[in-house]
Amino acid sequence: MSHLFDRENVDVAWCPGCGNFGILKLIKEVLEELEVDKNNTVIVSGIGQAAKAPYYVDTNMFGVLHGRALPAATGIKMANPNLTVIAEGGDGDMYGEGGNHFIHTIRRNVNIVHIVHNNMVYGLTKGQASPTSQKGFETKVQVNGVSNEPFNPLAVALSLRAGFVSRVSIGNAQHAKEVLKAAFEHHGYALVDIFQPCVTFNKTNTYHWFKDNTYTLDEGHDDSDFNAALQKAFEVMPMPLGILYQDKKSVLTFEEHIRKSEAKALYLNTHDISKIQNLFDSY
């Protein structure tokens, strides 16, 4: 096994046994197996334990602010539509702080792979509830247990007509890899919500819990059926894993629309000065 996307001399900041290790391995393998050009790939991440993943993948990266990976990724696609862009972060990062961007990036249909590490807890700030924490989850802050309805990213994405909506669990790495590959191959915005345990701050949602409370969608599920997908998105205990919905029709992506299908990177362009001159002179 080669390690094309291993980054040298890095000090990994995760706890032993963390689900993030599995996701990191998954991403590197998928990039390698899909023969993605590392020079032509950018991983944009926010802040959080999950958002540290790109530091350990040997490709371009833009490490931004908590919650702000999606608009940065959008800007990169505007500037150079040829780049393969991945936005990566945790549930607090992407669904909490960056909730507004989550909504509008889906609406735009930016052609990116959106990977969300979902462990239902805040790790880096040491154990507060996240938007996806289950009701009743007790923490140092939510001392009487979480009372908020958990955020349902799949249902939200579907309601905004996302072209690719999926959920996997790192407990089933082989299945997760298949889904992630499909996400890369999707033309348009693709959401991959990945269940992972936080071994330090979430003693409720463990590997076992995820195993007991999820099931893998089989061929009986038609992933081109939007209504069926919507129904699946609301299923709980057990929660479905797999591609809930994908639109295989070629829908115009955000960057194709705003760049009028010109995929040319903007750094290669300069404006035609005589044209500026003429326009100015017309005033």
Binding site: F62, A72, G75, A79, Y267
Partner: protein, 844 residues
């Protein structure tokens, strides 16, 4: 040595004194004729005197005595900057005058003889000796004849050197000289009638002796004012200084850059310089006439259409046009006004009191009341003009209705105004044709309005002089928003992400319209946080991106601004200010966000603040914003405001080919490190997919390759690296534009430029000098050194907190007085004149 470098050798404060002649630089420090860098009170060291020599009483042989220290290097743009005087008869005469001084040559005869006559007449009155009487008469006779001879070159000089200036010394001289000549003729006449009469106590005798003594006194007065013109700061010398200073803003201070690719960051378009100086020369013309028209009405009545039609028509008629709006934050109703000023000189500021006031509805009539002066021509529709005898009732609505649509009201008013002003109707009709493309009966309505207008008596309005239609035709009429947009385009802007917010939205609209012509990526973001994040993503990916916003939106960008600082990702932020706090006055103006722009974002990082004050500056500095952002990998905040954004002024031709299209992107090698430590702190910036390397840009503290680190030594290294960028950047700070010769500085920044400039022209007080800052931050010692020489410093700001004065104080500049205004309006020139006068009183 360049012209810029030469400037620092001005001989003052123990500095060396260098002068240049025909591209050779001489050291004149040791010369007794060049003490303190001054030569005969006429010339200063530190400049090129090639053109001045033609007017000197000596030739170039004098230079042989001085040691040669360097040759003068002229950069293309600098050479172009020297405005070449037109080679006409007047110029020839001026050169002749400079060399031979015909007026001083001739004028000494009558002066001496008049004094001689007066002296001997006193002797005669004491002794009654005939010899004295004869001497007095012949002295007077020759003095009077010579008086005519001397007056002719004097009057000629008044024309060629001083443009028939009506300043006090010229007027006094003309009157006194004429009286002296007339009195001389009278006295000669009395004497020739009967020479013996002067011995008697008769009326003719008393008149004769009185004239002799009075003309003696007259020539003393003439001599005094003659000296004042030659040696004081009047007329021609003032004009020279002005045109020289107007060259200043486009000259970048020595960048001291070690980067080979850009020894000079900002190659200003040569054209800009010409524009500025031309405008000033025109403005110095003593015959400035302007008429102000205030049109008021509810939103939705079509004032904007009227503004457009009239502006174009006035321009076609050969007048400089200026218009600015004041409007309420609503789409329909309320009471808005548009102020139009037309003139035979470039107008760049609003006035509070107006010459013509047109009310489109009753509310507007009430709203505009405060802005009427004694002779304001007030026009209102007959339906609401009331019984106010000052108001001229016009059948606007009825006339418009005749053509079937009340919406014709504004074309009717356009016609009416053209009629009142006695302008050529065809220009208006062409403008209407162009706007409405022949639709409806607009032309007929305008003609009807025109007819009514010609019948209105307007004795109080100043008569508009004829102007050079062809010259004005070449000017470009646009608002500050559009000029900024062209500046950003020239700066290579190819991406904009923004959330609409008044008064910044115009730039987003402009770029949207330009995206049809150019490859510009544009997206309306979900919020201002996303705006700046997308912009940063754009730069990371290789675009030249920007965002536009106002104070509230900018406040949301704080964290992303800080990210720009940490990741060293460039950004250009157009911040159009409006009065806060919070929603404040959304459609009005203020320079209130300086501190926000300066201190926004956590942690220290270098940034630049630029604030243009004219169309030309919007373009020049719009271009510069992108250059600085790219070169230094920093956020550049471009401060405009509602006033500048929405005000329509005129720009001369701009040569866009002089804005070099540069990119500061490096092709990466395999071992590329995004934050490689360099001498000046600037790491070569590469972008993904261009080269072999990987680009790791991160908001955590990082090592040179962009990996997270908490190593304290690395932290210190990176803090130092970012700080060194700021040092380098500070050296680029552009000096303020100084106009005038006085020792009291009236200091302004950004959009107040036009108002301060015209206020000082109106005050015509030689103690005052206009100092205008566009480069607001970072301020440098060299940049501020121009402020050292003033006795007093008055800072004018369109805000309540005097934030810029605070910055000056922080940099050790003493501020004596502050003029602040934060009522939602920009400065009105007539009100500003009073405010400055009041401040001057406080000082004395």
């Amino acid at each position: 040595m360049t012209i810029d470098e030469l400037k620092s050798y001005d001989g003052r404060n123990n500095r060396r004194a260098y002068i240049a002649y025909k591209d050779v630089v001489y050291d004149v420090t040791q010369s007794s004729l060049w003490q303190e860098g001054e030569h005969q009170g006429m010339h200063s060291a530190g400049v090129d005197l090639t053109s001045a020599l033609s007017g000197a009483p000596h030739g170039d042989e004098v230079f042989k005595e001085f040691p040669v220290v360097a040759t003068l290097q002229r950069e293309e743009s600098t050479t172009k900057k020297e405005p070449l005087p037109p080679q006409d008869f007047k110029t020839d005469l001026r050169i002749f005058y400079k060399k031979y001084h015909p007026h001083p040559i001739t004028v000494h005869f009558p002066i001496a003889l008049h004094l001689f006559a007066a002296g001997f007449d006193i002797a005669f009155l004491n002794t009654f000796k005939e010899i004295y009487a004869v001497l007095v008469f012949y002295a007077l006779f020759i003095a009077t004849v010579m008086g005519f001879v001397a007056m002719l070159p004097g009057v000629l000089s008044w024309w060629i050197n001083y443009n028939l200036s009506t300043q006090r010394p010229f007027v006094v001289k003309l009157i006194v000289a004429t009286i002296t000549l007339i009195l001389g003729v009278i006295a000669i006449e009395i004497y020739l009638q009967d020479p013996n009469v002067i011995y008697s106590y008769t009326t003719p005798s008393i008149i004769y002796h009185a004239i002799i003594l009075l003309t003696g006194l007259n020539v003393i007065i003439l001599g005094y004012y003659g000296g004042k013109i030659s040696w004081g700061n009047l007329g021609e010398e003032k004009m020279q200084t002005v045109s020289f200073d107007m060259n200043e803003p486009n000259i970048m201070m020595s960048s001291g850059s070690t980067e080979q690719e850009s020894p000079r960051l900002f190659s200003a378009p040569a054209s800009s310089v010409k524009i500025a100086s031309d405008e000033r020369n025109l403005a110095d013309n003593a015959h400035q006439v302007s008429i102000s028209i205030l049109i008021g009405g509810a939103a939705g009545l079509g004032i904007d259409t009227l503004e457009k039609i009239l502006s174009n028509a006035f321009k076609a008629s050969g007048y400089y046009v200026y218009s600015t709006k004041e409007f309420m934050s609503r789409v329909r109703g309320g009471s808005n006004t548009t102020l139009l000023r037309i003139a035979n000189f470039p107008v760049q500021a609003p006035c509070w009191e107006v010459d013509i006031s047109v009310a489109m509805d009753a509310l507007a009539l009430e709203h505009m009341k405060e802005r009427w002066h004694h002779d304001t021509l007030i026009l209102a529709d007959e339906s609401f003009s009331g019984d106010n005898s000052n108001v001229i009732a016009i059948a606007m609505k009825e006339s418009a209705k005749k053509f079937g649509n009340a919406q014709y009201g504004n074309t009717y008013i356009a016609g009416l105004l053209f009629g009142i002003l006695g302008l050529e109707k065809s220009f208006l009709l062409q403008s209407i044709d162009k706007h409405f493309k022949g639709e409806g009966s607009n032309k007929e309505v305008a003609e009807l309005g025109f007819q009514t207008g010609t019948e209105i008596e307007n004795l109080t309005l100043p008569k508009l002089p004829n102007t050079d239609i062809k010259a004005v035709e070449k000017l470009h009429l646009m608002d500050g928003t559009t000029a900024c947009g062209f500046g950003f385009l020239a700066g290579g802007c190819n991406m904009i992400t923004a959330y609409p917010m008044s008064p910044s939205t115009g730039v987003l609209n402009f770029m949207a319209s330009m995206s049809k012509e150019f490859d510009i990526a544009l997206e309306q973001s979900e919020d201002e946080i996303a705006s700046l994040m997308m912009t940063l993503g754009g730069w990371y990916g290789g675009a030249r991106a920007m965002t536009s916003t106002s104070g509230g939106g900018f406040a949301l960008m704080g964290e992303a601004l800080s990210l720009s600082g940490m990741t060293e990702t460039p950004a250009v932020i157009y911040l159009a200010q409006r009065p806060g706090p919070a929603t404040g006055l959304p459609t009005r103006t203020e320079q209130g966000d300086l501190n926000l722009a300066l201190y926004s974002g956590h942690g220290p990082f270098p940034r630049v603040l630029l604030a243009p004050g004219s169309l030309q500056e919007c373009i020049d500095y719009g271009y510069l914003a992108f250059e600085l952002a790219d070169k230094y990998q920093i956020p550049v905040i471009f401060l405009s405001d509602q006033y500048l954004a929405d005000t329509i002024m005129m720009s001369k031709d701009v040569d866009f080919s002089s804005y070099e299209q540069r990119r500061y992107i490096t092709k990466s090698a395999g071992d590329y490190e995004r934050y490689a430590d360099t001498k000046n702190g600037i790491s070569p910036r590469a972008i993904p997919s261009f080269g072999e390397g990987l680009i790791c840009a991160v908001g955590d503290e990082h090592d040179e390759r962009g990996q997270i680190t908490e190593d304290y030594k690395m932290r210190e290294q990176m803090v130092g690296k970012r700080a060194r960028k700021n040092d380098e950047l500070t050296r680029e700070a552009i000096a303020p534009l100084c106009k005038g010769e006085g020792d009291i500085a009236i200091i302004g920044w950004g959009s107040s430029k036009g108002a301060i400039a015209e206020a000082l022209e109106r005050l015509d007080d030689k103690r005052l000098e206009h100092v205008h800052f566009v480069w607001i931050h970072p301020l440098s010692k060299e940049q501020l050194s121009v402020l050292d020489d003033y006795k007093y410093r008055i800072v004018v700001e369109n805000n309540a907190d005097g934030a810029f004065a605070d910055q000056l104080k922080l940099h050790g500049v003493h501020v004596d007085e502050q003029i602040l205004q934060s009522n939602g309006f920009s400065f009105f020139v007539d009100q500003l004149v009073e405010m400055i006068e009041k401040s001057l009183k406080e000082l004395s």
